[in-house]
């Protein structure tokens, strides 16, 4: 979902914190690392690692630490946050509130006034649920369990005063985040604290905190983006230089376009030659709105919004499509839509609870930043294979993990070979592949390159031959326990040399070498496999099928493949360049025909029209929320909000705002107290639409054929109910309350959901339904109600075994079935009829089909 981005705050590089302005100005924050045990608050002689600013004394997110090539790094365990601020106060009695879940100290004018105790790591789930806080008359946000509040009454004189907060973040057996670290300040007669800071700092209420938290997430994401792009400026330049220094290769010949077939760009020449040879007709062209809906989904993973549609239609017909494409590939959601794809292909599989089912770390975060920064794709592959950076925070090191797998490097070798070389080595995991030209030794040699050293073949990865008896169908030349050295196994197949030193070298020589082989400009296979994946994604079926297993198929249009591969390499491995070429072709801009399954044979693939595609699970849930103008409003993907366990056991994947932010809910223990009901309602829809909650193995395609449960889960489930509900935060409620005529309301509704105008018959049908109650739809005097979801924040891993925690969650599940509370401002009859209208539109098969 595109939201206005908060302007990034200035990056302060001064030696000492600058004094703040008399009544306002940001809080100066510094981060210190590697303090000796027992000396965490001894900062006088220490130099800070990072400096930044916050608008007030509320610390929810901290800046990510980046390496020179912008991959995220871990900080020390613990690290120290120091915040300093100076401002004028009028004389009076104030109460300061230090709120922290770990050790923290608050100083006013150099004097210690408040402190909190170090957090204790949790060792069981048996703690009781803490009692619900009695709010009484105060709107103060209660301290979320297990934060402590330490209150300090202070007398301040007129004039400037200095406030310093020093807090330990994380520690052994703890989660490395601040939680809800904050300092509030209140005058005697004030009802509630204000966050310490400038005059406009928000109050420490639920609403104030939640707004601050949302803004903080955005602000830090933006600041991370600016910092990492600045930090890796040199490295970006090195990659550019590498591309420029690579000798230009001759462009492939472009065939003459045959008569009688439409051409928009060079791609069509290649397609039309085969169409003409088969005397085949191409499908009809898409109209402008169909094109916009398709290309917006393909670039951003979302349907177009009404303002986007209006701006597009205002554009001149000749240029509107090209303008739209240029705008859309630079939309930030370009990154979101690609993350979903590579999560499947690279088997990203983080576990939020004691991951032991072939889990990886959350390298989704590094993938998102890579696509957001549009780094060259060869650099992406090199960094992936080098596997460095933070494993917990989702750097490329998290790709190397596969919990409880008897050979993670072997699993990764299989993934890398499929993803970037179209070589499916999976069968060679346990024995020589029976139908492919690979031996088990090949896979393990590649695995050893990824590991950085010799590998011993685990007994569990073999097929025992046994003594006597019949000869088995599958064999392996390797014996359990045998040692395999790193070696590039594709020398015969790919015949090119490695491409020498990389712009940034990893510690492991064999990883560097592997990357060097993969991304060599002489590695035609690499460029072809990647452009084939891009082609398949947008056209529904690849030029080569299967896209991850090239020994089992052949190119339907080998010259087109070579052309696209050339363009990709020549552009510096820029996915956007290839995407734009495809979008600009007539072949892409035609109506879909047939399915991918019909066209697996290369002879059958003519691209007379793209293959039919349905929305991916992520596109579906994201687009539904966008149409309704609603946030996911989902629980944080965090089964241990108390933060009292090591990140090796529990990780926090944050509050989901897009489908790809979700993950398996890990309730193998079947405990109601571990349920996340809203997340579950979104996961329920996504799993029925082909999304894998557990990606234990790589996949290029999804199992998403239309099924009765697909229809029913959307029609009856909680997610569909929330989307169709006319709550006060729904865009449709806004439309209904507006002064449009009933026809205008129907047209706006169709535009929002289906990106088109209703047909005459559809207009008549909905007019029939809504007109009788339209004029009298307003409820006089009714007000908008708060749509804030009440959730009980007391349940965490440490107390989930209590019966009370179970009861709390079961009640949340029950309440959720009713969907969001409906607005009071519309009559029940009108509201229900309009909700039924919305229901029919979102459940129509047309909604989820890509035009």
């Amino acid at each position: 979902m595109v939201r206005p981005l908060i302007a990034s705050l200035a990056w302060s590089l001064s030696a000492a914190p600058a004094p703040s302005l008399p009544g306002g100005g940001p809080v100066q924050v510094e981060i210190f690392e590697d303090l000796a045990a027992g000396k965490e608050f001894d900062l006088a002689a220490m130099k800070s690692i990072d400096r930044y600013t916050e608008p007030a004394f509320a610390f929810i997110h901290t800046p990510t630490k980046f390496a020179a090539n912008a991959i995220p790094l871990d900080r020390s365990t613990p690290f120290i946050l120091k915040a300093a601020y100076q401002r004028n106060y009028t004389a009076g009695s104030y109460t300061l509130r230090l709120r922290a879940r770990g050790a923290a100290r608050l100083f006013v004018d150099g004097k210690l006034v408040a402190q909190t105790q170090a957090q204790k790591p949790n060792t069981s789930g048996d703690d009781p649920v803490p009692p619900a806080v009695e709010r009484g008359n105060t709107p103060l946000r209660p301290a979320a369990y297990p934060h402590q509040d330490s209150l300090a009454p202070v007398q301040l004189s007129d004039g400037p005063h200095e406030f310093v907060l020093i807090a330990a973040i994380g520690g052994k057996g703890l989660y490395p985040s601040p939680g809800e670290l904050a300092v509030g300040i209140r005058m005697k007669d004030q009802l509630v604290d204000q966050l310490l800071g400038p005059n406009d700092a928000p109050p420490l209420t639920d609403a104030g905190w939640e707004a601050y938290s949302l803004a903080s997430a955005r602000r830090h994401a933006e600041s991370d983006k600016v910092r990492r792009r600045t930090v890796s400026h040199k490295v970006s330049a090195l990659w550019n230089a590498r591309h420029k220094s690579q000798p230009a290769k001759p462009a492939p010949a472009i065939p003459t376009a045959p008569d009688g077939y439409p051409v928009r760009n060079t791609i069509d020449n290649f397609i039309n030659v085969k169409l003409a040879a088969a005397s085949a007709k191409h499908t009809a062209a898409l109209n402008d709105l169909e094109f916009l809906r398709r290309v917006t989904l393909d670039t951003t993973g979302l349907i177009p919004t009404p303002p986007e549609i209006a701006a597009y239609l205002k554009d001149s017909p000749k240029s509107r499509r090209a303008n739209a494409v240029n705008r859309l590939v630079d939309n930030p959601s370009w990154a979101d839509h690609w993350v979903s794809y590579w999560q499947d292909v690279l088997a990203e599989n983080p576990g939020i609870l004691k991951p032991d089912l072939n889990n990886t770390g959350p390298f989704r975060w590094w993938m998102h930043q890579s696509f957001s920064d549009n780094i060259p794709f060869d650099r992406f592959v090199a960094e992936l294979v080098q596997q460095e950076g933070s494993a917990t925070l989702g750097g490329p090191a998290s790709f190397s993990q596969a919990t409880l797998n008897d050979s993670p490097p072997a699993a990764k070798a299989d993934i890398v070979a499929q993803a970037f070389l179209g070589q499916k080595l999976s069968c060679a995991r346990c024995h020589d592949a029976p139908f492919h030209p690979f031996k088990q030794k090949d896979l393990f040699a590649l695995a050893a390159m990824l590991e950085g050293k010799d590998l011993k073949l685990p007994a569990t990865s073999t097929v025992p031959q046994g003594e006597g008896g019949r000869k088995p169908n599958v064999v392996s030349a390797l014996k359990p326990g045998e040692s395999i050295a790193p070696a590039w196994p594709f020398a015969k197949l790919l015949e090119h040399a490695d491409s020498g030193t990389l712009p940034v070298a990893a510690k492991s020589a064999t990883r560097n070498q592997l990357a060097s082989f993969l991304i060599s400009p002489d590695n035609d296979r690499f460029s072809q496999v990647v452009v084939n994946r891009v082609w398949k994604r947008y056209m529904g079926v690849g030029i080569v099928e299967p896209a991850d297993d090239w020994s089992r198929g052949r190119a339907s249009h080998p010259e087109l493949l070579a052309y696209l591969a050339h363009e990709f390499r020549a552009s510096g491995y820029d996915l956007k360049h290839v995407a734009k070429l495809i979008f600009a072709s007539h072949a892409y801009q035609r109506k879909a025909a047939g399915t991918a399954a019909d066209q697996m044979s290369s002879a059958k693939r003519l691209f007379a029209g793209p293959a039919h595609r349905n929305m991916t699970a992520e596109q579906l849930v994201d687009s539904l929320h966008l149409a309704a103008g609603k946030l996911f409003d989902c629980e944080e993907m965090n089964l241990n909000p108390a933060g009292d366990r090591s990140p090796k056991q529990f990780i926090n994947l944050g509050k989901p705002e897009r489908g790809w932010h979700l993950t398996a809910l890990s309730n193998e223990r079947d405990r109601p107290a571990l349920a996340l009901p809203i997340a579950q309602s979104i996961v329920d829809v996504m799993t029925n639409y082909g999304w894998r909650q557990s990606r234990q193995s790589p996949a290029t395609e999804r199992d998403d054929a239309p099924s009765p449960m697909q229809t029913l889960i959307l029609a009856n489930g909680v997610l569909g109910t929330r989307i169709a509900r006319l709550s006060d935060d729904s865009a449709f409620t806004g439309i209904a309350l507006g002064n449009a005529t009933v026809d205008a309301l129907i047209e706006q509704t169709f535009t929002r959901i289906l990106s088109r105008k209703p047909s005459a018959a559809e207009l008549a049908m909905y007019r029939n339904l809504l007109a009788p109650v339209f004029a009298g739809r307003f409820v006089k005097g009714a007000e908008a109600r708060s749509t804030r979801r009440e959730s009980d924040g007391r349940v965490s891993w440490s107390n989930h075994l209590s019966a009370e925690a179970t009861v709390i969650r079961l009640e949340e599940e029950r309440k959720l079935r009713f969907g969001d509370k409906p607005t009071d401002r519309l009559t029940k009859d009108f509201r229900e009829r309009y909700e039924d209208t919305l229901w029919a539109l979102i459940n129509s098969p047309e909604f989820a089909m890509v035009p």
Partner: protein
């Protein structure tokens, strides 16, 4: 992973293979958390809840000669002649619940090359649907990976419910949509669907998808939804089944009657005992309440199935991810033990009234006749008439239906 010689030896010995069972449906009762065998179906001498290892409760005789069970299984004890108690289940995953639950459900550990299907999905896949109007595989519990269809594909997934009063997710309408409103909705939707199909008359894909959408609503039709109306059963029967777990067992019987092939019923009523069967520390204190609930429900289920003439064709399984050691921990509870524990089978035409395998004097180690998880799966398959030596296929890759599991032959004629 696969001992080819042994599996070929098995198929060569097909002539000596046991007969299949008679089950055409399975009710899989899942005691999540790891049920202590020494406190349930494999009782030994008493411990003291502190330093002296041993059973937490007394033991009582059963309908099987020389076989006792815990005193809290009073109703089940006289019905044990309908059961086969396998006391020598063993596997190596002792520390992690998710990994152990995954092993017991899928019969394998994750390999990274493909995702193995749950026993429910395999049964659904192998037996096929009895009727089109009822989901083939239903879970009463939380959706999680251990129950998923893996490489068999979404078609062999499950419908689930977490609370019987809420009903199956996706099949039950939102509470504020009555049948009048639903009719109105479906009329509007039908018009949208037909309009789309008519505008694309020549497009077979659009026609087919429209048809799937139209037919889907039949699955949530009244005939199926009636199955969930437990108040159609007599109050006496409902009371015999007991609390929520018992009501789920009753629902499972009704689902089997309606044609569902595989119903997994989770005993995850953590408001009874917060940690469920995972009785570390003071989770042990109320364990007897769980056992009593299980006893009431299981005994009633057996008699009810018998009365309905379904027991012979319904395999009932009591499964859990591991057992627990005879020693007590510092809080008076028990840790995990996977080296020796118990699972129970009943019905389905298996030979009943016997105990298979023995453990030592504290049920710590298997002394006789170990049964692995693949063996357990092979036995379930055989009871359901599924060939335990066949291959499933992930694409065109053959995957033996179990990881060289051997049928517990004693359970078949």
């Amino acid at each position: 992973m696969i001992n080819r010689r042994e599996f070929l030896a098995n198929s060569l010995a097909a002539a000596a293979a046991p007969a299949r069972g008679r089950a055409d449906a399975c009710i899989f009762l899942w005691l999540g958390g790891g049920a202590a065998q020494i406190d349930t179906f494999d009782p030994k001498r008493r411990g003291d809840g502190k330093k002296v290892a041993g059973a937490a409760y007394g033991a009582i005789d059963t309908a099987i000669k020389n076989v006792q069970v815990c005193e809290h299984l009073k109703q089940t004890a006289p019905l044990l002649d309908r059961c086969a108690v396998i006391r020598s289940i063993t596997h190596p995953i002792v520390s992690e619940h998710a990994a152990a639950a995954n092993l017991v459900h899928t019969g394998r550990t994750p390999s990274g090359t493909l995702q193995y299907p749950s026993i429910g999905s395999v049964v659904s896949h192998q037996l096929g649907p009895k009727t089109e109007e009822v989901p083939n595989y239903i879970v009463m519990g939380y959706p999680n990976i251990t129950r998923d269809p893996g490489f068999l594909g979404a078609k062999y997934g499950y419908v689930y419910l977490t609370q019987t009063e809420i009903g199956p997710n996706g099949l039950v309408r939102p509470p504020d949509v009555d049948s009048t409103r639903q009719d109105r909705r479906e009329t509007l939707l039908a018009a949208m669907r037909e309009g789309h199909q008519n505008r694309n008359a020549g497009d077979t894909v659009i026609q087919a998808q429209g048809d799937v959408s139209r037919q889907a609503f039949r699955l949530a039709g009244p005939r199926f939804m009636n199955v969930f109306e437990l108040n159609r059963e007599s109050t006496t029967l409902r009371e015999s089944y007991g609390g929520e777990f018992g009501q789920r067992c009753l629902l499972a019987r009704r689902l089997v009657q309606a044609g569902t092939r595989f119903v997994e019923v989770s005993f995850n009523l953590n408001f009874l005992n917060g940690s469920g069967w995972d009785t570390h520390n003071d989770g042990q204190t109320n364990q007897h309440l769980l056992i009593q609930d299980l006893d009431k429900a299981f005994a009633t289920l057996l008699l009810d199935l018998e009365k309905q003439k379904l027991l012979d064709t319904t395999l009932v399984v009591i499964a859990t991810e591991f057992g627990r050691p005879p020693e007590f921990d510092a809080g008076g509870g028990r840790g995990h033990q996977s080296e020796a524990f118990t699972m129970v089978l009943a019905g389905g035409g298996i030979k009943s009234g016997l105990a298979v395998g023995t453990t030592d004097d504290l049920s710590k180690k298997v002394i006789e006749r170990p049964v692995t998880i693949p063996d357990f799966h092979a036995t379930i398959h055989n009871a359901l008439g599924i060939d335990p030596h066949k291959n499933l296929y992930a694409g065109d890759r053959p995957v033996p239906i179990t990881d060289h599991g051997r049928i517990v032959q004693e359970l078949f004629a």
